[in-house]
Structures are given as C-alpha cells and as structure tokens.
Symmetry: C2
Subunit: 230 residues, 2 copies
C-alpha cells in the first residue's frame, strides 16, 4: 500500500460552537424561512451529523432563542443618542429593519420572553434612556406599550407582505379584484364600511404607516411621562 492509497488521517471534525451553529441556522432561515431550519440541515451545513448539535444546544427551541438574540445584536444601536423619544423611535425602526432583513423574526417576535445577552443589552439602553423621567411603573408601561405596538405592527406588515408575495398582487388589487373569497363577501353588502375602505383606500407605504402609528404612540407616552400617574 503506497502513500496515495493510504486513507487520509480521519479528519478530526471541525470544532463547533454555538456561534457557527446559530449562523448556519440564520443563513437557512434567511433564504428559506423558519420552516427551512431543521437540525439535520443545520448540521449538514457544518459537515456534522445531526446529533452533534446537541452538545451545544439542548433543543430546537433553544436554537431559535439564540437566533433571535443574534439579531438583537444587529438591533442594538452602536451609539445611542440622548433623547428618550429618539431612543424608542430608533429601537422601533431598527427592529423593523432587522425583521425586513430576517423575515422569520416576525414569526418569533413576542413569542417568548427575550432574555439573551443582546436582548438584555437592548432593554438596558432603553430603560437607561427613560430612567428618572417618571416613576418606575410609568417607565415600564411606556417601554412595554411602545414595544407592544411595534411588535404587532411589524408582524402585520410581514404577514401582509407575504400574502402579497404569494398572490403576486398588491393588497388592494387583490382585495378588490382577485381575492375570490373576500370579493364575494364584500359583494354581499354585509360589510359596507369595509367595502368603502377597500374601494376608497389609497395604498400607503408600509414604512410611513409604521412611522405614523409609532409617532402617535410616542406622543401618548410623552404626555404620560410629562405628568406622572394619577
């Protein structure tokens, strides 16, 4: 047996770590959605057997949590400005942008408490920006209200975007013309206000709609912060 026939020394498998696993999972999710993430595919992408992963994560849910926290690293603004309103506003917009980059995040947003280090860091700068502006209960209420808004708004935006993509039609065109079921329902005359809205509504840019609602909510928060609770 000469040198060439001798089998390669069995290549010790490349060492794995959570970072690489999470990165592979995110890559899969970015291009195929969350349901394209299977432990087998993630492992394959790292030239490993599926069971290898269980040395670094204990369940698939945990992998999802890690993916979310990784995106929070993108969300955390590098240098935060002073004004509390600006902090909340950029937090909302950065979360939205991150979700547009990683649409699968919409499926996870708000689904579980976010306790990873990056998520905690985001919470920290947010709370820090509001610290002292009112009693702690009010501050918490403010943060939670704003984040409830943008979480819900982002999810809806992605949901609509997917629906449009699936039908190949813009929302209004589809509601008005093609949507077979909806059109029939509207034609029944049982939904006059809705019909009018669909008919007269103008298509608004998703970002300005998001920003507008956000401004309203921030206005409300500002009012409450100004005069601490009754």
């Amino acid at each position: 047996m000469n040198v060439w026939d001798r089998p390669e020394p069995p290549t010790r498998p490349a060492p794995l770590d959570r970072e690489r696993i999470v990165a592979a999972a995110i890559a899969l999710a970015d291009q195929g959605g969350l349901e394209a993430v299977s432990l087998r595919k993630v492992a394959a992408r790292l030239d490993a057997g599926p069971m290898r992963l269980y040395g670094y994560i204990s369940t698939k849910e945990e992998l999802f949590d890690l993916m979310v926290d990784e995106v929070y690293a993108e969300i955390l603004p590098e240098e935060q400005p002073g004004d509390w309103r600006e902090v909340l506003c950029t937090l909302a917009h950065r979360t939205r942008q991150a979700t547009l980059r990683h649409e699968w995040l919409a499926d996870l947003l708000g689904g579980r408490p976010t306790l990873g280090p990056n998520a905690l860091a985001v919470t920290e700068v947010t709370l820090a920006a509001l610290d002292g502006l009112a009693d702690l209960d009010t501050v918490m209420r403010a943060v939670e209200t704003v984040s409830a808004y943008f979480t819900g708004a982002i999810r809806r935006e992605i949901a609509n975007l997917r629906a449009e993509r699936a039908t190949g039609l813009s929302k209004r065109d589809w509601q008005r013309a093609s949507g077979p079921h909806v059109t029939r329902m509207l034609a029944t005359g049982r939904f006059p206000a809705l019909a009018k809205a669909v008919h007269d509504g103008t298509e608004v840019d998703a970002e300005v709609s998001f920003a507008t609602g956000l401004d309203w909510v921030l206005d409300a928060v500002a009012a409450k912060l100004a005069r601490p609770p009754t």
Copy 2:
C-alpha cells in the same frame, strides 16, 4: 351463520363538515397547545382517517385560519355600543379574553392576514364605528395602530405567562432569584438600569397593565381623530 354473527351493515361514516373539524382542532389546541394539533389526531377525534380531512381542508395552515376565524366569532361583540373609543376598547379586551381562553391564539395572532367571515365582521363593526370621524387614511391608521398594540401586548402577556408556568415562579421572583442565566448577567453590573428595574419593580396585574397601555394609545388616537392630519 346466524343473525348475531352476521357483520353489522358497514356503518356509513358520520358525515363531516368544516365546523366539526374546526371544533375538534380547537378542542385539541385548547388543552394541548397548537403543537398538539395534528391532522391525525383531529381525524381520530372524529373517527376518521387522516385523509378524510382533505375533502374539507386543503392544508393544515388553512385549518389554522379556520380556527382563528372561529375564535373571532367569540370576539365579535353581540351588540356594539356607539362610541368609537368604547368599540376599540372592548374589541381589545375581548380579543385578550378570547386569547386567555384559547392560548394558542397568541401564536397565530398577527401571523397572517385575517380574512375569514367572522374576522371581516369584526373589522366591519370597527370601521363602522370610526366612519366619518376623519378621512379614511386617518381612520385606518387608528384601527391599525390600536390593533398592533393589543396584538403585541397580548402576545407578550401569554409569552410571560407561559414562562412563569414553566418555571413555576412569578416573573419577578424568577428574574431576581432563580433565573440562572439572567441573574448572572445582572450580577455583572453591565445592566444597571435593568437591575434597578428588576429590583425595585412591583408586580403589576397583567390586565391593568394591558388596560393602561390601551388607554394611552386610545388617547393618542383621540387626539389625532380630533384634528385630521396635517
């Protein structure tokens, strides 16, 4: 072969319809969560083979849509009061109550456009209540902002509730004492504002927190409806 040995005339299977299928699926989800809903189990509950369902449903996603719309029937208030604010407020609270009855709804809320007949009916009474108070764009923004808020808030509430249930600890106790990871992070001193919040925060009832945030958002909407857009 006597009469008793003679096999029963092959019992024609009980006729199926979407209603019964959806009801069975909801029953399963109510007691085991969304991931307890499998087509096989739903079918078994109706003494049918899995494939029977495909005569009434074309995919599992569609079943989920039907389940959601069924819950919207519970959400639709029987007789709506006049005031727009009251309509939006009760819509929010009824959605929350329905989600507390059917926790799985939290996983689906906002995940896809809601176009079932009951959901459309809910949208109809909502739009009707706001009709004429401002131009259509503003009205839409109002509805979407409020529903983004309560959607996000409900999801977070359920997420926390599940976490508490899983650890058997209240949120604050758990953050403060047990949560192994979080405690360590807080101890690093890198999150002073967060640490203070966890330390000084008082446990607030989920419903009042929901209602408070909702009131803030409704205040904001009221202000915008009063003076149509710039």
